[in-house]
Protein backbone atom coordinates (compact mmCIF):
# COMPACT_ATOMS: atom_id res chain seq x y z
CA UNK A 1 0.00 0.00 0.00
CA UNK A 2 1.66 3.24 -1.06
CA UNK A 3 0.85 6.80 -0.04
CA UNK A 4 -1.87 7.35 -2.66
CA UNK A 5 -3.65 4.15 -1.60
CA UNK A 6 -3.41 5.25 2.02
CA UNK A 7 -4.93 8.62 1.21
CA UNK A 8 -7.73 7.01 -0.81
CA UNK A 9 -8.44 4.46 1.90
CA UNK A 10 -8.55 7.15 4.57
CA UNK A 11 -10.83 9.31 2.43
CA UNK A 12 -13.24 6.42 1.83
CA UNK A 13 -13.20 5.58 5.52
CA UNK A 14 -13.82 9.17 6.57
CA UNK A 15 -16.67 9.70 4.15
CA UNK A 16 -18.49 6.42 4.83
CA UNK A 17 -21.79 7.40 6.45
CA UNK A 18 -21.65 4.37 8.77
CA UNK A 19 -18.73 5.99 10.56
CA UNK A 20 -20.67 9.12 11.45
CA UNK A 21 -23.30 7.79 13.84
CA UNK A 22 -23.65 5.75 17.01
CA UNK A 23 -21.36 5.29 19.99
CA UNK A 24 -18.45 4.26 17.75
CA UNK A 25 -19.23 7.11 15.35
CA UNK A 26 -16.82 9.95 14.66
CA UNK A 27 -18.83 12.71 16.42
CA UNK A 28 -19.08 10.69 19.64
CA UNK A 29 -15.42 9.64 19.62
CA UNK A 30 -14.38 13.21 18.83
CA UNK A 31 -16.30 14.54 21.85
CA UNK A 32 -14.77 11.87 24.09
CA UNK A 33 -11.31 12.76 22.82
CA UNK A 34 -11.88 16.47 23.41
CA UNK A 35 -13.28 15.72 26.86
CA UNK A 36 -10.20 13.80 28.09
CA UNK A 37 -7.87 16.34 26.52
CA UNK A 38 -9.65 19.35 27.99
CA UNK A 39 -9.89 17.79 31.45
CA UNK A 40 -6.17 16.95 31.52
CA UNK A 41 -5.21 20.37 30.16
CA UNK A 42 -7.37 22.25 32.67
CA UNK A 43 -6.01 20.29 35.65
CA UNK A 44 -2.43 20.76 34.43
CA UNK A 45 -3.02 24.50 33.92
CA UNK A 46 -4.62 24.92 37.35
CA UNK A 47 -1.46 23.44 38.92
CA UNK A 48 1.24 24.78 36.60
CA UNK A 49 0.08 28.36 35.88
CA UNK A 50 0.03 29.63 39.49
CA UNK A 51 3.18 27.68 40.35
CA UNK A 52 5.10 29.03 37.35
CA UNK A 53 3.85 32.57 38.01
CA UNK A 54 4.78 32.42 41.67
CA UNK A 55 8.26 31.05 41.04
CA UNK A 56 8.87 33.53 38.21
CA UNK A 57 7.64 36.43 40.36
CA UNK A 58 9.64 35.61 43.48
CA UNK A 59 12.63 34.29 41.55
CA UNK A 60 12.95 31.48 44.08
CA UNK A 61 13.06 27.82 43.14
CA UNK A 62 13.51 28.47 39.43
CA UNK A 63 16.25 25.89 39.05
CA UNK A 64 14.08 23.33 40.84
CA UNK A 65 11.07 24.04 38.60
CA UNK A 66 13.06 23.77 35.35
CA UNK A 67 14.82 20.59 36.49
CA UNK A 68 11.53 19.04 37.55
CA UNK A 69 9.93 19.95 34.24
CA UNK A 70 12.82 18.46 32.26
CA UNK A 71 12.59 15.27 34.27
CA UNK A 72 8.83 15.11 33.74
CA UNK A 73 9.33 15.54 29.98
CA UNK A 74 11.45 12.39 29.99
CA UNK A 75 8.73 10.22 31.55
CA UNK A 76 7.37 7.95 28.80
CA UNK A 77 3.62 8.58 28.60
CA UNK A 78 2.76 5.05 27.45
CA UNK A 79 4.79 3.52 30.30
CA UNK A 80 3.10 5.73 32.88
CA UNK A 81 -0.31 4.84 31.46
CA UNK A 82 0.31 1.08 31.52
CA UNK A 83 1.83 1.35 35.00
CA UNK A 84 -1.18 3.19 36.40
CA UNK A 85 -3.55 0.74 34.66
CA UNK A 86 -1.65 -2.21 36.11
CA UNK A 87 -1.62 -0.77 39.63
CA UNK A 88 -5.19 0.54 39.67
CA UNK A 89 -7.62 -0.51 36.96
CA UNK A 90 -8.95 0.45 33.59
CA UNK A 91 -10.77 3.77 33.41
CA UNK A 92 -10.47 7.52 33.25
CA UNK A 93 -7.82 8.04 35.99
CA UNK A 94 -5.01 6.10 34.26
CA UNK A 95 -5.62 8.19 31.14
CA UNK A 96 -5.76 11.57 32.83
CA UNK A 97 -2.65 11.14 35.01
CA UNK A 98 -0.13 10.63 32.15
CA UNK A 99 -1.79 13.39 30.14
CA UNK A 100 -1.43 15.82 33.06
CA UNK A 101 2.21 14.80 33.42
CA UNK A 102 2.62 15.49 29.70
CA UNK A 103 0.92 18.89 29.79
CA UNK A 104 2.53 20.35 32.91
CA UNK A 105 6.18 20.84 31.83
CA UNK A 106 5.59 23.20 28.87
CA UNK A 107 3.02 25.26 30.81
CA UNK A 108 5.24 25.47 33.89
CA UNK A 109 8.48 26.32 32.08
CA UNK A 110 6.95 28.88 29.71
CA UNK A 111 5.03 30.64 32.49
CA UNK A 112 8.13 30.75 34.67
CA UNK A 113 10.40 31.94 31.84
CA UNK A 114 7.80 34.46 30.70
CA UNK A 115 7.34 36.06 34.12
CA UNK A 116 11.04 35.92 34.93
CA UNK A 117 11.95 37.55 31.63
CA UNK A 118 9.78 40.63 32.19
CA UNK A 119 11.90 43.76 31.87
CA UNK A 120 12.99 45.14 35.28
CA UNK A 121 12.02 48.65 34.09
CA UNK A 122 8.42 47.53 33.67
CA UNK A 123 8.33 46.14 37.21
CA UNK A 124 9.93 49.34 38.53
CA UNK A 125 7.34 51.42 36.71
CA UNK A 126 4.50 49.31 38.14
CA UNK A 127 5.88 49.70 41.66
CA UNK A 128 6.39 53.41 41.07
CA UNK A 129 2.68 53.65 40.24
CA UNK A 130 1.96 52.30 43.71
CA UNK A 131 1.33 48.61 42.92
CA UNK A 132 2.25 45.98 45.48
CA UNK A 133 3.55 42.47 44.68
CA UNK A 134 0.25 40.90 43.57
CA UNK A 135 -0.66 43.98 41.55
CA UNK A 136 2.69 43.95 39.77
CA UNK A 137 2.20 40.26 38.97
CA UNK A 138 -1.39 40.52 37.78
CA UNK A 139 -1.34 43.88 36.00
CA UNK A 140 2.20 44.06 34.66
CA UNK A 141 4.05 40.75 34.64
CA UNK A 142 1.31 38.37 33.48
CA UNK A 143 0.10 40.59 30.60
CA UNK A 144 3.68 41.09 29.39
CA UNK A 145 4.43 37.38 29.71
CA UNK A 146 1.13 36.40 28.02
CA UNK A 147 2.58 35.47 24.60
CA UNK A 148 4.96 32.99 26.19
CA UNK A 149 2.31 31.65 28.60
CA UNK A 150 -0.02 31.02 25.65
CA UNK A 151 2.78 29.32 23.76
CA UNK A 152 3.25 26.93 26.68
CA UNK A 153 -0.49 26.20 26.79
CA UNK A 154 -0.55 25.65 23.04
CA UNK A 155 2.38 23.22 23.11
CA UNK A 156 0.70 21.35 25.95
CA UNK A 157 -2.67 21.29 24.19
CA UNK A 158 -1.24 19.89 20.96
CA UNK A 159 0.75 17.22 22.75
CA UNK A 160 -2.27 16.22 24.82
CA UNK A 161 -4.60 16.05 21.82
CA UNK A 162 -2.10 13.92 19.88
CA UNK A 163 -1.36 11.68 22.85
CA UNK A 164 -4.93 11.23 24.12
CA UNK A 165 -5.07 8.45 21.51
CA UNK A 166 -3.55 6.22 24.20
CA UNK A 167 -6.85 6.40 26.10
CA UNK A 168 -7.81 3.43 23.96
CA UNK A 169 -5.18 1.37 25.78
CA UNK A 170 -6.90 2.07 29.07
CA UNK A 171 -10.06 0.61 27.61
CA UNK A 172 -11.92 3.86 27.10
CA UNK A 173 -12.92 5.84 24.03
CA UNK A 174 -11.63 8.76 22.03
CA UNK A 175 -10.20 8.82 18.54
CA UNK A 176 -7.48 6.39 19.64
CA UNK A 177 -10.09 3.62 19.35
CA UNK A 178 -9.93 3.83 15.54
CA UNK A 179 -6.13 3.61 15.63
CA UNK A 180 -5.78 0.90 18.28
CA UNK A 181 -8.72 -1.23 17.15
CA UNK A 182 -7.70 -0.78 13.52
CA UNK A 183 -4.21 -1.91 14.40
CA UNK A 184 -5.40 -5.10 16.06
CA UNK A 185 -7.89 -5.86 13.24
CA UNK A 186 -5.30 -4.93 10.56
CA UNK A 187 -7.88 -2.43 9.36
CA UNK A 188 -5.46 0.19 8.03
CA UNK A 189 -8.05 2.60 6.59
CA UNK A 190 -9.42 2.94 10.13
CA UNK A 191 -5.90 3.60 11.48
CA UNK A 192 -5.11 6.22 8.86
CA UNK A 193 -8.58 7.77 9.09
CA UNK A 194 -8.33 8.03 12.87
CA UNK A 195 -4.89 9.58 12.56
CA UNK A 196 -6.16 12.14 10.06
CA UNK A 197 -8.88 13.14 12.54
CA UNK A 198 -6.30 13.62 15.30
CA UNK A 199 -4.14 15.74 13.00
CA UNK A 200 -7.15 17.87 12.07
CA UNK A 201 -7.91 18.34 15.75
CA UNK A 202 -4.32 19.44 16.38
CA UNK A 203 -4.56 21.96 13.53
CA UNK A 204 -7.84 23.29 14.97
CA UNK A 205 -6.13 23.69 18.35
CA UNK A 206 -3.35 25.69 16.66
CA UNK A 207 -5.89 27.96 14.99
CA UNK A 208 -7.81 28.37 18.25
CA UNK A 209 -4.64 29.55 19.95
CA UNK A 210 -4.00 32.09 17.21
CA UNK A 211 -7.47 33.47 18.03
CA UNK A 212 -6.77 33.34 21.76
CA UNK A 213 -3.55 35.25 21.18
CA UNK A 214 -5.44 37.98 19.33
CA UNK A 215 -7.92 38.23 22.19
CA UNK A 216 -5.58 38.04 25.18
CA UNK A 217 -2.31 39.64 24.15
CA UNK A 218 -2.12 43.40 24.49
CA UNK A 219 -1.78 45.08 21.06
CA UNK A 220 1.46 46.67 22.21
CA UNK A 221 3.10 43.27 22.53
CA UNK A 222 2.12 41.63 19.24
CA UNK A 223 4.89 40.39 17.06
CA UNK A 224 7.08 39.52 20.02
CA UNK A 225 6.79 35.79 19.73
CA UNK A 226 9.50 33.52 20.99
CA UNK A 227 9.78 29.79 20.84
CA UNK A 228 10.68 27.65 23.77
Amino acid sequence: MNLTDQINAAWNWLTASAHWSGSDGIPHRLLEHLGYSALALVIAAVIALPLGALVGHTGRGGFLVVSFANLARAVPTLGLLLLVVTVTSIGLTPVIIPLIALAMPPILVNTYEGIRGVDADIKDAAEGMGMKGPGVLLKAEIPVAMPLILLGLRTAAIQVVATATIAAYAGIGGLGRYIVDGLSRKDYPSVVGGSVLVVLLAVIVQVAFIGLRRALVSPGLRGSSRTS
Partner: protein, 230 residues
Protein backbone atom coordinates in the same frame (compact mmCIF):
# COMPACT_ATOMS: atom_id res chain seq x y z
CA UNK B 1 10.36 -2.17 48.98
CA UNK B 2 7.55 -1.48 51.37
CA UNK B 3 5.06 -0.08 48.85
CA UNK B 4 2.65 -2.77 47.77
CA UNK B 5 0.17 -2.89 44.95
CA UNK B 6 -3.42 -3.74 45.79
CA UNK B 7 -3.02 -7.52 45.58
CA UNK B 8 0.07 -7.64 47.83
CA UNK B 9 2.52 -7.98 44.93
CA UNK B 10 5.49 -5.60 45.50
CA UNK B 11 5.76 -2.79 42.96
CA UNK B 12 9.34 -3.78 42.28
CA UNK B 13 11.00 -7.20 42.53
CA UNK B 14 14.64 -6.25 42.75
CA UNK B 15 16.04 -9.67 41.81
CA UNK B 16 14.24 -9.43 38.42
CA UNK B 17 16.67 -6.67 37.42
CA UNK B 18 19.77 -8.82 38.01
CA UNK B 19 18.22 -11.82 36.28
CA UNK B 20 17.51 -9.76 33.16
CA UNK B 21 20.64 -7.59 32.93
CA UNK B 22 21.62 -8.90 29.47
CA UNK B 23 18.19 -8.21 28.03
CA UNK B 24 18.15 -4.77 29.68
CA UNK B 25 21.54 -3.87 28.15
CA UNK B 26 20.47 -4.95 24.65
CA UNK B 27 17.19 -3.07 24.85
CA UNK B 28 18.87 0.06 26.25
CA UNK B 29 21.43 0.19 23.44
CA UNK B 30 18.76 -0.39 20.81
CA UNK B 31 16.62 2.29 22.44
CA UNK B 32 19.50 4.80 22.26
CA UNK B 33 20.03 4.04 18.58
CA UNK B 34 16.34 4.45 17.73
CA UNK B 35 16.12 7.70 19.72
CA UNK B 36 19.35 9.49 18.88
CA UNK B 37 19.81 8.77 15.16
CA UNK B 38 16.68 10.90 14.54
CA UNK B 39 18.32 13.83 16.36
CA UNK B 40 21.45 13.44 14.24
CA UNK B 41 19.41 13.23 11.01
CA UNK B 42 17.22 16.06 12.26
CA UNK B 43 20.23 18.35 12.75
CA UNK B 44 21.61 17.41 9.33
CA UNK B 45 18.32 18.52 7.76
CA UNK B 46 17.41 21.38 10.10
CA UNK B 47 20.65 23.36 9.89
CA UNK B 48 20.63 23.86 6.09
CA UNK B 49 16.83 24.29 6.14
CA UNK B 50 17.09 26.90 8.91
CA UNK B 51 19.84 28.74 7.04
CA UNK B 52 17.64 28.84 3.95
CA UNK B 53 14.66 30.08 6.01
CA UNK B 54 16.76 32.94 7.39
CA UNK B 55 18.09 33.85 3.98
CA UNK B 56 14.77 33.68 2.17
CA UNK B 57 12.27 34.91 4.76
CA UNK B 58 9.19 33.85 2.76
CA UNK B 59 10.26 30.23 3.15
CA UNK B 60 9.92 30.24 6.93
CA UNK B 61 6.13 30.48 7.54
CA UNK B 62 5.25 27.52 5.26
CA UNK B 63 8.15 25.45 6.65
CA UNK B 64 7.04 26.20 10.20
CA UNK B 65 3.45 25.32 9.28
CA UNK B 66 4.45 21.90 7.90
CA UNK B 67 6.69 21.25 10.92
CA UNK B 68 3.83 22.12 13.29
CA UNK B 69 1.50 19.72 11.50
CA UNK B 70 4.01 16.89 12.04
CA UNK B 71 4.09 17.85 15.69
CA UNK B 72 0.36 17.23 15.98
CA UNK B 73 0.40 13.75 14.45
CA UNK B 74 0.19 10.97 17.05
CA UNK B 75 3.56 9.23 16.97
CA UNK B 76 1.90 5.85 16.55
CA UNK B 77 0.06 7.06 13.45
CA UNK B 78 3.25 8.39 11.91
CA UNK B 79 5.00 5.06 12.58
CA UNK B 80 2.14 3.30 10.79
CA UNK B 81 2.61 5.50 7.75
CA UNK B 82 6.14 4.15 7.26
CA UNK B 83 5.37 0.46 7.73
CA UNK B 84 4.63 -0.10 4.01
CA UNK B 85 8.11 1.16 3.13
CA UNK B 86 10.37 -0.30 5.81
CA UNK B 87 8.33 -3.09 7.32
CA UNK B 88 7.62 -4.09 10.86
CA UNK B 89 9.77 -5.59 13.59
CA UNK B 90 13.06 -4.80 15.28
CA UNK B 91 16.49 -4.35 13.75
CA UNK B 92 17.79 -3.76 10.22
CA UNK B 93 15.66 -1.85 7.76
CA UNK B 94 12.57 -1.99 9.99
CA UNK B 95 14.27 0.40 12.42
CA UNK B 96 13.66 3.18 9.91
CA UNK B 97 9.91 2.77 10.50
CA UNK B 98 10.69 4.35 13.89
CA UNK B 99 13.71 6.51 13.02
CA UNK B 100 12.24 8.49 10.13
CA UNK B 101 9.01 9.57 11.92
CA UNK B 102 11.05 10.64 14.94
CA UNK B 103 13.31 12.62 12.61
CA UNK B 104 10.23 14.48 11.35
CA UNK B 105 9.15 15.16 14.95
CA UNK B 106 12.60 16.50 15.83
CA UNK B 107 12.42 18.94 12.91
CA UNK B 108 9.43 20.71 14.48
CA UNK B 109 11.68 21.71 17.38
CA UNK B 110 15.04 21.97 15.61
CA UNK B 111 14.12 24.16 12.62
CA UNK B 112 12.58 27.02 14.69
CA UNK B 113 15.57 26.93 17.03
CA UNK B 114 18.10 27.07 14.18
CA UNK B 115 16.20 30.05 12.75
CA UNK B 116 15.93 31.81 16.13
CA UNK B 117 19.58 31.12 16.85
CA UNK B 118 20.75 32.58 13.55
CA UNK B 119 18.44 35.58 13.95
CA UNK B 120 19.86 36.22 17.44
CA UNK B 121 23.25 37.09 15.93
CA UNK B 122 23.63 40.84 16.62
CA UNK B 123 23.80 42.97 13.49
CA UNK B 124 27.06 44.71 14.59
CA UNK B 125 28.72 41.27 14.83
CA UNK B 126 27.62 40.48 11.28
CA UNK B 127 28.87 43.85 10.05
CA UNK B 128 32.18 43.40 11.86
CA UNK B 129 32.68 40.02 10.19
CA UNK B 130 31.90 41.54 6.80
CA UNK B 131 34.29 44.41 7.51
CA UNK B 132 37.02 41.89 8.31
CA UNK B 133 36.60 40.53 4.80
CA UNK B 134 34.49 37.44 5.58
CA UNK B 135 32.41 36.23 2.65
CA UNK B 136 28.85 35.04 3.20
CA UNK B 137 29.79 31.38 3.61
CA UNK B 138 32.76 31.97 5.89
CA UNK B 139 30.76 34.41 8.00
CA UNK B 140 28.02 31.80 8.33
CA UNK B 141 30.32 28.94 9.33
CA UNK B 142 32.79 30.82 11.52
CA UNK B 143 30.63 33.55 13.07
CA UNK B 144 26.88 33.06 12.81
CA UNK B 145 26.55 29.32 13.43
CA UNK B 146 28.87 29.34 16.49
CA UNK B 147 26.85 32.19 18.02
CA UNK B 148 23.67 30.23 17.31
CA UNK B 149 25.00 27.07 18.98
CA UNK B 150 23.37 27.60 22.42
CA UNK B 151 19.90 28.05 20.89
CA UNK B 152 20.37 25.12 18.48
CA UNK B 153 21.53 22.88 21.33
CA UNK B 154 18.62 24.02 23.48
CA UNK B 155 16.37 22.69 20.69
CA UNK B 156 18.37 19.48 20.39
CA UNK B 157 17.97 18.90 24.14
CA UNK B 158 14.19 19.18 23.97
CA UNK B 159 14.10 17.01 20.83
CA UNK B 160 16.38 14.35 22.34
CA UNK B 161 14.36 14.01 25.54
CA UNK B 162 11.11 13.82 23.56
CA UNK B 163 12.60 11.29 21.15
CA UNK B 164 13.86 9.02 23.92
CA UNK B 165 10.41 9.03 25.46
CA UNK B 166 8.58 8.53 22.13
CA UNK B 167 10.63 5.51 20.97
CA UNK B 168 8.78 3.46 23.56
CA UNK B 169 5.50 4.00 21.67
CA UNK B 170 7.07 1.98 18.84
CA UNK B 171 6.50 -1.18 20.86
CA UNK B 172 2.89 -1.08 19.69
CA UNK B 173 4.18 -1.94 16.22
CA UNK B 174 6.81 -4.29 17.60
CA UNK B 175 9.90 -2.08 17.86
CA UNK B 176 10.08 0.17 20.88
CA UNK B 177 13.43 -0.44 22.57
CA UNK B 178 12.79 -0.40 26.30
CA UNK B 179 9.07 0.07 25.59
CA UNK B 180 9.06 -3.69 25.00
CA UNK B 181 9.08 -4.09 28.78
CA UNK B 182 5.89 -1.99 29.15
CA UNK B 183 3.96 -4.58 27.20
CA UNK B 184 5.74 -7.51 28.86
CA UNK B 185 4.78 -6.16 32.26
CA UNK B 186 1.30 -5.03 31.29
CA UNK B 187 0.32 -8.35 29.71
CA UNK B 188 1.45 -10.25 32.83
CA UNK B 189 0.08 -7.74 35.35
CA UNK B 190 3.66 -7.35 36.60
CA UNK B 191 4.81 -3.83 37.46
CA UNK B 192 8.58 -4.41 37.80
CA UNK B 193 9.47 -4.33 34.06
CA UNK B 194 7.28 -1.26 33.52
CA UNK B 195 8.93 0.67 36.36
CA UNK B 196 12.45 -0.46 35.42
CA UNK B 197 12.03 0.58 31.79
CA UNK B 198 10.46 3.93 32.77
CA UNK B 199 13.41 4.64 35.08
CA UNK B 200 15.95 3.56 32.44
CA UNK B 201 14.27 5.82 29.87
CA UNK B 202 14.45 8.77 32.28
CA UNK B 203 18.12 7.97 33.00
CA UNK B 204 18.86 7.82 29.26
CA UNK B 205 17.18 11.20 28.81
CA UNK B 206 19.21 12.77 31.61
CA UNK B 207 22.39 11.21 30.22
CA UNK B 208 21.80 12.54 26.69
CA UNK B 209 20.93 15.91 28.15
CA UNK B 210 24.24 15.93 30.01
CA UNK B 211 26.12 15.00 26.82
CA UNK B 212 24.47 17.86 24.90
CA UNK B 213 25.21 20.37 27.68
CA UNK B 214 28.85 19.24 27.62
CA UNK B 215 28.91 19.57 23.83
CA UNK B 216 27.59 23.10 24.15
CA UNK B 217 30.32 24.02 26.65
CA UNK B 218 32.99 22.62 24.34
CA UNK B 219 31.54 24.41 21.30
CA UNK B 220 31.19 27.78 23.02
CA UNK B 221 34.42 28.23 25.03
CA UNK B 222 33.86 32.01 25.19
CA UNK B 223 30.72 31.55 27.28
CA UNK B 224 32.75 30.06 30.11
CA UNK B 225 34.88 33.16 30.64
CA UNK B 226 31.93 35.22 31.87
CA UNK B 227 29.17 34.29 34.25
CA UNK B 228 26.12 33.12 32.45
CA UNK B 229 23.14 31.00 33.36
CA UNK B 230 23.27 29.41 29.88
Amino acid sequence: MSVLAADGEPLIRWNWIGDHSDELTTLTLHHLKLALLPILFGLIVAIPLGIMCVRWRWLYPPTLGVANVFYGIPSLALFMLFIPYFGIGSGGQADFTIILPLTLFSLSVLVPNVVDGLRSVPEPVRQAATAMGFGTLRRLVQVELPIAVPVIIAGARVAAVASISLVSVGVLIGNGGLGQLFIDGYSRDFTTPIIVSCVLIIVLALFSDGVLVTAQRLLTPWARTRRSNG
